[in-house]
Each structure stands twice: as C-alpha cells, then as structure tokens.
C-alpha cells in the first residue's frame, strides 16, 4: 500500500541549504493564499459582533445580533428547513449513490457505459436547467411544491457526487479481500458490512459531506422547486438582499461555519480509523 513512498530516494540535501529568500517567498505566498481564502470569512465573523446595523462600519462589540437571531423566527425557520433538507438529502443520496457506485464498480451489464457517462450530467448541466426541468416535471406529475420537492430535487442532483467519489475509492479496491472473506465463511451481507463498507467508508463519508455542503447552500435549484413553507437559508438570505443584509445574517453564517468546521474535524477523525489496515475484527 505504501510502496511508492518507500521507493522514493531520500530527500536531497539541497533542501537544507535553501536560500532564505526562497523560504520568505514561499511563506509570503502561502500567507497571501490563506488570507485570500479566509479573510472574508474572518471579516464576516468579526462583523457579526458589530454594534452598528450597517455591515461595513465598526462601532463596537455586541452580542445583540445573536440575541436578535434567537428571536427571528424567519431565519430560525429557514435554518431548520435547510438542516432538514440537507440531512435527509445526505442520507438518501449517500445510500443510492453508493449503490450506484458498487453496481458500476463490480458488475457488467448492458448499458453500463451510458449509465456511467450519464452520471456526470447532473454535475455538468447548469443548475438553472436542472431547476427548470425539475419544476416542469413536478408540474406534469402534479406534485405540489413543498419542502419535500426540495428534498427530491437535492437528492436527484446529489446522487452523482456520491457515486463518483465512491467509485474513485472502489478503483483501488482489492477484491481478493472480499473473496477471502467469502472463502472463510462470511455470507454476502457479512462481507458487505464488515469488509466492503469499512474499506470504502472514507469515500462514502467524503461523498456524504460533499452532499451535505452542496445541499445546505444550494440556491438556484432550490429557488425553482421550493414551495409553501420551504424557504431555506440561502433563499432567506437572498430575499433579504432587497432590504439590505443585517448583521443577523453574519451571525447565522458564523454559526453555520462553526457547525461545518465541527463536522469536518469530526469527519477527519472518523476517517482515520478505517484507514488502519487491520483486516476483519
């Protein structure tokens, strides 16, 4: 597994004698890259504690906006809607997507090539086309727009992401491990649960996280298919643009960033375990 790393020649000594200005350049470059990536987020977080209602003038520290937020039913409702949609989408799309990946990864069937290429379409097609197509479809089957149509739409375009990520993981999968399990008396289910899934687990988890983040901040498709009572956080924020963004939006974004960071850290922790090549416990 770690073959390629071992065969590499030891790092040349040149590295040690690198000129100071080279280090300096690299350091500066990285600093700027990270600033570029994270400064806007830092500013957003800082301004969520700003006393002024105007988003761009600093007037002093306050927790007022967080207090406001707790009483803003509309924003809270939209956060709740977004979390519901993202959670259900993640679970459903991850299951279906994994199944698709497994089917494509190990079986030969008619039309496999076209299914595999069609898999990329939801990612390639502009979101606005997906949104328009879905809403037409819902009109044809007379499905009233609601929070559930948002879930259906999100699941529809999320499956591909999971399937592609899991398929990539399956590409380096050693099937002899499964054969060994079957050979040693494990049934197909036991093999799936105790050998296959743990091995492709990190891929599934990565797919699930990807889907969660895509779902929670999707605006275009959601704006097409949302119905009564289905205003999600992105829809809420966009609609607030008409009257100006208040620091409450900064506050809610800060909380969301916090949740996302926690989730990512958690996911990375979880990912480390199944990576240990330990065979069957």
């Amino acid at each position: 597994m770690s073959g390629p790393v071992d065969t590499r020649p030891p790092a040349p000594m040149v590295v040690e004698r690198r000129f100071a200005w080279e280090r300096f350049l690299l350091g500066t470059h990285s600093t700027f890259v990270y600033l570029f990536l994270y400064l806007p987020i830092v500013i957003l977080v800082v301004f969520s504690f700003n006393e002024s209602k105007q988003t761009a003038v600093w007037e002093g520290f306050t927790l007022e906006w967080y207090r406001h937020l707790m009483h803003n039913d509309l924003i809270l409702r939209s956060v709740k809607n977004s979390l519901i949609v993202a959670s259900i989408t993640t679970v459903v799309a991850t299951i279906i997507g994994t199944m698709v990946a497994l089917a494509l990864g190990r079986y030969e069937f008619r039309g496999k090539a076209s299914v595999a290429s069609v898999l990329y379409l939801p990612i390639i097609i502009p979101e606005i086309v997906i949104g328009a197509a879905l809403v037409t479809f819902f009109g044809v089957v007379q499905l009233r727009l609601s929070l559930w149509t948002v879930v259906v739409a999100h699941v529809a375009f999320s499956i591909s992401y999971v399937a592609i990520v899991v398929r990539a993981r399956l590409a380096g999968f050693d099937r002899s491990l499964e054969e060994a399990a079957l050979d040693l008396g494990a049934g197909p289910w036991a093999t799936l649960w105790r050998v296959t899934l743990p091995l492709i687990g990190p891929g599934i988890l990565a797919g699930a996280l990807l889907v969660f983040t895509i779902s929670i901040d999707d605006y275009v498709v959601t704006s097409f298919v949302a119905g009564v009572g289905a205003t999600t956080l992105p829809l809420q924020i966009y609609s607030m643009l008409k009257v100006g963004v208040t620091p409450e939006v900064n506050a809610v974004s800060t909380l969301l960033i916090l949740v996302t960071v926690v989730l990512i850290v958690l996911a990375q922790r979880l990912q480390q375990d199944p990576n240990q090549p330990g065979g069957g416990q």
Partner: protein, 378 residues
Amino acid sequence: MKKLLRPSVVTFAFLVPLSLALAACQKAAEAPAPQAAVAPAPAAAPAEPAAPAALEKTGKLNIFIWSAYLPKEVIDEFTAKTGIKVSFDLYDSNEALLEKLQSGVADYDIVVPSDYMVKILASQKLIQSIDHARLPNFSNLDPRFLNKKFDPNNEHSLPYFWGTTGFGYNKSKIKEPVDSWQVMFDPKHKGRILMLDDMRENFAVALKSMGKSLNDTDPADLKAASELLKKQKKLVKTYNSGDFANILASGDVDFAHGYNGQIAEVVRNSKGKLAYVVPKEGATFWMDNMAIPVKARNLEAAYEFLNFIMQPEVNAEIVNGVSYASANTPAKKFINPEILNDAAIYPGDDVIARCEFLEDIGDTTTVLDQYWTEIKAQ
C-alpha cells in the same frame, strides 16, 4: 434539446417513484380534510379532488412575499382574530415569482408582484380577477395609486407599497446643492459613484438626464443613452443592487443610486450626514401590489386577509413596522409622524408627478440588453 432530455434518464429513474409516492401520500393526507369540513356525512366515497377549496373558512393562508414586507405582529393579530394560520415564503425577484406561479403546483393564496409583473401575470392568466364587492376596505385606498396603466380598474391587483428610485448622497462631503442626475455623470466625482446593477434602472437614469421618458424606445435616444452610460462607467466605483445603502453609509461612495426604502433607513441613522434625492429630471416610480393567484386554494382566507390589511390601524401598523409608504389614506392618521414626514418615504405630489413607471418595452428590451452587455463588458 438533446442535452436537456438526457439527464431525465438517470435523474428521473430515481425521481419518478419517489415523486409519485410523495404525490400519493399528499392526496391521501388531503382527502379527509375537506370532507370533514364540508359534510359530516358518513365518509363513504373517496373525496373528489377537493373541489372549490374556496369555501374553507379557516385553514391556512399561504403568502408569497418580499422580505421585510409584513411585520410578524400583524400576522399574529390576523391569526388571533380569524383563526386562519399564515405561512409565508420569501422571494427576491419578480421573475422568481413568475416562475413559481408558472409551475402550476405552487399553493400560494396571496402574492405581491411589482407593477410591470402584475401586467405579465394577468396576461398569462396566473392571477385572478379581484371581486371588489368582497373588499369593503377597498375604499380606503388612495385614488392616486389606483387604475394605473399596468392594471386598469385594479382588476387584478391592489396597491400595497410604493416608492421611487433616486439616489442617496453624502451631504457632509458634497457641499453644493444636489438636485439633478448630472452629478452622477460629473468627472469630479470619479470613483465615488455607485449605480444599481440593473439594466432598466440605469437606462432610466440616462434617459431622464437627457430629458426623455424612461420608457423611450427611439433607437437614436437609446444609442445616446448607452453612450452616456459607457462614459459614466469610468466614474462608477461599483454596480450593486443589494448592499448599496450600506456602501453609501460606510463612506465608500458619495453617491448611491438606489431604491428609496433602504436609503431612507441609512439616512435616518446618519445623523444628518446623508440625504435622499429624487432628481428634478424625474425618476422611476414603483408599486408592489397584492394579488391572488388563479390556483389559490383558500380564496376565502385571501379576501379576509386583504380586507384585514386595508383597515387603517392595521395598515398603519404595517407601515410603522417596515417603513415603506402604503397607499391607504385613513391609515395616515396612525402612521408615525417620523415616517409620514420623511420625504424619502412619503414624497409630495410634485415628486410623484415627475416620476414614471417602468413599462414593458417589448422587443426594445433586446436592444437594451445588447447595449448593457457592451457597457458591462468594456
């Protein structure tokens, strides 16, 4: 076309069963409700597709509306008084509203389109005729805002809020008197100007500064207007439709083209530093209106609600809560003097007289589109 159809294969393979199941669930859930409401008869035959849902007295009212257009207290009062629960969703553009109603499966009972969108929705038969006889409070509406070109005799809509698109400026930095669009084209203010990121509004500024109608379709005028805007672009710091008032308030620009509502708010909080102007050449006048979609399911509640918000006290409470001007005459008695006397919110008749609605200009839109792309791309 082919590209459009292909995704159906995979997406729909998953979608169809899921959606059909959902649709079935919905029907099952819906069926018993109207039955129980209409007749206490022995529940035998499965209900017809919920015939005229209009006769439901209570139930739920679904409103689709702009953000910050309806204070929560008013909704709570309505529910307390009538027993009708209100659910409301928000949209950010008239086009989003149009798309939603076109889907044919959106269950909204009240929507709030702007002037030109009322015309489009009515012509596409997406909003229904309003029965004025069922609205005793209709007489409270200010005749100045009735019977407009976009909806003759208010057959399809009732004026809710109105306002203007002018500009805000920083009085503490600009000493000379400002009353004309010309300042927005003055090289002296290079880099200190913000314009809305909106094609029609930009052409409105250029055409008005030339002394023309903002619905002008004369090719020569439009060409001249686009030249003006092209030249102006070098002076413009940014085109922004969302945050213009805050950018003005933060001091990043001295002039900000924008809607009166948001600018009025930062003007009020600026301790006299900022001001809002409707230039003497004239500007855009806008109106947002209440309407009932053709597919409304709770017509009774919709009328009840429209009557409710046209009561003077309730209407004043709305205005006091959101700081937009309403078109309700007797409500003025109950509106905070601070809002009523704010010329940015309630301008005088002279200001209204020099403003114009943006109208649908048909094929000329394509011409403007082309010019606008050139301006933005240069």
